[in-house]
Symmetry: C2
Subunit: 429 residues, 2 copies
């Protein structure tokens, strides 16, 4: 399915016979690049303005202030507006009673859950802060904000490999079965950040069922891109909540999602889905600092989408806008780097927000530095790894959605030039 | 200034000569009350629907998606929209750099601050979770959600008396000077919940300057009602941030405010104000779970109010709607209970959302129970005290804003009847 693409070109070039000449060629190309005086930013997975425009009608909604007999303007309704929860329960494949709708950022809900586990303990355990050093498994490459949150809480991160069909479950199983200090793992199941990997149902089932030494092991299932298809293939996310329940671990997974990359990145709605017991646990702690989420924004979204098909149709409009940008990334990388599979490989995602580029080991930092000096801001090398350290110094996350199509093309040409120069420097070393 | 009113009636009744006859009279009145089959809720400080209607124009704002060159729809701007911060900095009497605008609940910011202090330590201290048992001072009667948050975190609450002009500062000073485990205090400085007390500048100055054994002592200054005047007297809240800075304790106070009772209770904007060092500390932790607040809602509020005078004019419309309700409370209580100052006294606030009623000691729970059985839901007796325990069982918080004016009248008649019956039962005991 989705996942790292292996370039298959008939004209694969051998490693250069004459590294010095290769270096001179690449340096010359780079000098030309610097002379262009570019200024582009490919660092963050932000929707572009034309994507935000798709939801402009939200600005004059809702048309009423009541929904299901509730005055959405007033306090209350900690679990979120029923109508919106019903709509997204269908899209996320969960029961309405398993779903909570909240404010503008699922990242906030993830922080809440981890803080609650630390201070108060998960629904099936005691406070993690009282248990000495604890650990989390992090599929790599992964999402830098997931890692930052764990580091902030002093939770040790253990990297596990991310493969095209999900994390290396054999490694996960081996780690968790004997070590009670491993309390959980992150996972972006569909169109993972940054690899585009999709965790297949068989791997999800193993994660749901695997014996864990920690009786309160949690899978933080960040389904940020579950609806964000780039092609006609509308990948179905594995149903981790049902799988976990069926395997006697109903409280293991906690799912997160949001409309941040569906409507407005800064003014959307976030979701948490889990067992009813987990939901009750979560709301109990949430209620210490909330008298209910912004239900006006919930109703605004409900009126805008009307139903699940409304969301699906909306997502196809996003795909129409950003697929050409992803195509441009593939096109430029193939044209410029396809002949050098020993120097660069990259993913060809069918959804999500990123392309994951692996350059010659030991050169990713140098590529980012070269690009910066040429006016192209890339996500820092190592950003997708715990503690910001990519042991191979090989991975670079490309985020093509925010710049215009022309900018993506020019920026990717620049990236290719930097990748080749950094490799040439290394090979000539 | 504001604060508990002492009823001064020429016709003060002596304690009843014949408690049995008094009891029979009150029981008869109560039986008539129950026969009416009322159904009212005076429990929470919620704005009424006609107050929410004042802000209905928000539903079709903003008219644009940019402000100060920022696309408010996208990620970013962790500190909140500049224009809105400028507007509320003026109203709250702080510098723009000292002010952060966030989501729909200042209670969330209070929880954040306490969680950050526990897990990571305040800007001037080490994590509170590592310091053994710690304590907070709570002026009583106070806000039940403040107490719940401390109890949730396992922070011991020490009550201190709330007086008409603020907390009993002599008691506070004596407690904090020698006990390093007292890490802070709550304070609702203006039109306190539920007493309506206003902390005067001299008391604020003493709190800002007092020596504390804890070097990281915090005043959580919840200015929830600072703009919520009921009369033409627009009480100025003491400038705790400047006072603390002037006294060498710049990082002691953290101020909270919101538009929850200005625009929409469930869809407003919250604020945190503090020293720039505190703001930087706060944002550093906030950024672990947020890529910026809902700036669309910030712009919506900015467009709606336009400037600080817009907010002031708006607040006068609120006062026009709710002052008659507060007047009705005073009128009914005076008429029915004014002759019995040994049985009941109450505050006559000039702002805020509550009237604090003190009944015959030992009868508050009974009053609430009687009212409930007569169909009138009151805030549970003791709710305004740490751990829900009013040692005198005397205080009842009345919240007259949500019901209609007629309902307030009928409900207060019912309350008066219950107060008298509970007292009669006690006196006949």
């Amino acid at each position: 399915m989705a996942g790292p693409a292996v370039p298959s070109h008939s004209d694969i070039a051998p490693l250069p016979d004459d590294p010095a000449a290769f270096l001179a060629t690449q340096r010359s190309a780079y000098d030309d690049l610097v002379a262009q005086g570019l200024k582009f930013d490919l660092t963050r997975g932000k929707p572009g303005p034309e994507q935000l425009d798709l939801s402009e009608a939200l600005l004059t909604l809702p048309t009423t202030h009541t929904s299901g007999g509730v005055d959405v303007r007033n306090y209350g309704g900690l679990e979120g507006l029923l109508g919106l929860r019903e709509l997204f329960a269908e899209l996320l494949g969960v029961q309405v009673a398993q779903l909570v709708a909240q404010g503008n950022a699922s990242l906030t809900l993830m922080k809440d859950v981890l803080v609650d586990c630390m201070l108060k303990g998960p629904v099936d355990g005691t406070p993690w802060k009282d248990q000495g050093p604890i650990k989390f498994l992090c599929p790599v490459p992964g999402y830098d904000r997931h890692h930052a949150l764990l580091e902030w809480l002093g939770i040790e991160m253990v990297p596990v490999p991310m493969e095209a069909d999900g994390p290396d479950v054999a490694v996960v199983e081996a780690l968790v079965k004997d070590d009670p200090s491993i309390k959980g793992m992150w996972l972006v199941p569909t169109y993972a950040n940054p690899s585009g990997s999709v965790t297949e149902a068989d791997k999800a089932a193993r994660l749901a069922a695997m014996p864990t030494a920690a009786s309160d092991f949690k899978i933080l299932w960040d389904n940020a891109y579950g609806l964000h298809h780039l092609t006609d293939v509308e990948t179905k996310t594995a149903d981790i909540i049902s799988l976990a329940a069926a395997n006697g671990n109903p409280d293991r997974p906690i799912m997160f999602a949001s409309t941040s990359k569906i409507t407005f990145a800064g003014a959307g709605v976030s979701f948490l889905a889990a067992s009813e017991r987990n939901v009750k646990w979560y709301l109990g702690h949430l209620g210490m600092g909330s008298i209910g989420p912004d239900k006006v924004n919930h109703l605004r979204h409900l009126e805008f989408f009307k139903d699940a098909d409304g969301v699906r149709a909306h997502m196809r409009k996003h795909a129409a806008l950003i697929k050409p940008k992803f195509d441009a990334v593939q096109e430029v990388l193939s044209t410029r780097l396809g002949r050098y599979p020993h120097i660069a490989t990259w993913t060809e995602p069918i959804g999500g927000y990123f392309v994951s580029l692996d350059v010659l080991p030991g050169t990713a930092s140098r590529v980012v530095q070269l690009a910066k000096e040429a006016g192209v801001a890339l996500t820092p090398a190592g950003a997708s790894f715990p503690y910001g350290v990519d042991p191979q110094d090989t991975n670079i996350r490309l985020a093509p959605t925010f710049p215009s199509l022309d900018e993506v093309r020019v920026a990717m040409e620049a990236v290719a030039t930097c990748v080749l120069l950094a490799a040439a420097e290394k090979l000539a070393d």
